[in-house]
Subunit: 316 residues, 2 copies
């Protein structure tokens, strides 16, 4: 079995190829051609930590992937990053372990950011007047980096809870060539931006229905486990189109789960990203519509990005 470090992985991932692999993965998933066993989740309350194990095999693929990802939120006080993780790739014809990708959680971050990019390409309004970002962490940064590939807009409004975090994010976004406005009032983001990404670990709604401008697209990536929530359920119900990465996962604990439970939306209103990519679902029809992409993170993304980067790593 080959072992690859984060340095090797980040150096070799071809981002454009990864986008294609992820799109193919979402399509296969929505066609029912992916084995996705139930997510294994651990809670470590004494250490303020959690862990999940996601595994997938795409029909026809030579490999399957098992991913471990951890979040231990007291780690920074110990000089360690909050998130860690790795992916294990094994042969689907012999079962032999082929590669251990010690990406330290980076592949999970990037496949999540790339899903946001795919959703924005499909659903953002024709003219993005400003990008809005909720959150100032790693994922909030990666999402902005990836949006640069799908819109020429270079204006961003960023919401965060702390001045230091906002100042650091501003420096980061300036470095990408963005004109940056920071705020501690989420309403400002909703009023100014029409392409918004929510990338926080929030457990309560940050964006309210009445703040939203016509034509806005929102991608929400924070709600990846029970208890998490970034959007007012009434805002979810206001969306003209709701796209989810997984009907099952999103109905269980995604952003749409709250609106479903409250009876504000019906399951039939939801369509999967794979179905949208394949043309079996309708996306944005005009520039006044509000669209929402609810992304909980599906194991097929891990299977696709790991096989994609492994092909690069082992090609000569």
């Amino acid at each position: 079995m080959k072992v690859f470090s984060k340095q090797e992985i980040t150096a070799r991932l071809d981002m454009e190829l990864a986008v294609q692999c992820l799109e193919q993965g979402f399509i296969a998933f929505s066609q029912g051609k992916v084995q996705v066993p139930p997510v294994q989740a651990f809670a470590f309350p004494q250490a303020n930590g959690d862990c999940c194990i996601k595994s997938a095999h795409v029909e026809g693929s030579d490999t399957f992937t098992v991913k471990l990802s951890t979040g231990f939120y007291d780690n920074p006080s110990k000089g360690l990053p909050s998130n860690d993780g790795l992916m294990l790739v094994a042969s689907a014809s012999t079962g032999q372990p082929l590669a251990l990708l010690q990406d330290e959680g980076w592949l999970t971050c990037i496949r999540t950011a790339l899903a946001g990019r795919i959703a924005a390409r499909l659903l953002a309004p024709a003219t993005v007047k400003a990008i809005g970002i909720l959150g100032t962490g790693t994922q909030a940064r990666m999402q902005l980096e990836q949006l640069g590939a799908v819109t020429p807009c270079r204006s961003v409004v960023v919401w965060g809870r702390g001045d230091a975090e906002l100042a650091a994010y501003k420096a980061f976004a300036n470095g990408l060539g963005y004109e940056v406005r920071v705020t501690r009032n989420a309403e400002e983001v909703a009023r100014a931006a029409n392409l918004i990404v929510c990338a926080t670990p929030s457990r309560e709604p940050l964006l309210q229905r009445e703040w939203l401008q016509p034509g806005t697209h929102i991608t929400a990536v924070g709600a990846d486990a029970p208890g998490k929530q970034e959007l007012d359920p009434a805002l979810v119900a206001r969306a003209d189109r709701i796209i989810v990465d997984s009907l099952y996962q999103c109905s269980q604990y995604g952003e749409v789960s709250h609106a479903l439970k409250a009876g504000l939306i019906k399951a039939q209103q939801l369509a999967e990203l794979g179905a949208l990519l394949e043309g079996r679902a309708t996306g944005r029809e005009h520039d006044e519509q509000i669209t929402l992409a609810d992304l909980t993170g599906v194991a097929v993304q891990d299977a696709q990005i790991s096989s994609c980067v492994l092909a690069s790593l082992t090609a000569g």
Copy 2:
């Protein structure tokens, strides 16, 4: 993260310590002190293969374990072993991956054999006249090796489907100091032996109720997934005591599941190995009773044996 090979692992596992760790694990499991997320299972019908991912964390332990184990049954024709696997041990206080145990499935085999040893120590009749083994594969060998620690009996009757396999098993058991009788008729095993281990991948009953002698103990380890079965459900119903490694798993797909579905036994008749170890359940009361241990393999065994061997591997 440290990576250890099968050679290092087999050289360093302290078998007596492993038994203690497994017993503590079974007790913690039966006390509800183990996080055991649902097993992830893959099927690869084109390659005649399967894979399962079992994970566990024992309350209070510094680590948790994720195990991958595969069975690809056409591998021997490619010069590869049918079974492979590895265990990943991570910190329960920081989430960091600590060690990769590339045991190639050996730890799974040995923890299964040790569970058989624990069951035999608790449930075998006082005088074992002969050991009976159904199966001639790796697990059938390891079970016999481990039984040597809990009974002075050195007479074994072995059932298998092929003469070559039986001859090879005979040579193996002779090497351990056993007097060996081989047979292709399972009834001979039941008539001659009063400590029987079933270790086959059978999908139909091999042992019938009417063959069984009073006082016999049977440990069945083959039924570890839906569809597998080694015992006549009427034989299961005949047992005076039924001990299972996991009430949940055994009721789902263990040997007892068939008798439960047929209404021949009631769930209340079952007790867990951990409860027996702890003295909360009753085992054998006299030498005429028939006892049964149904072992499907629980992730807590993986967590315990991996932390046990890792302690040895990293101690100096």
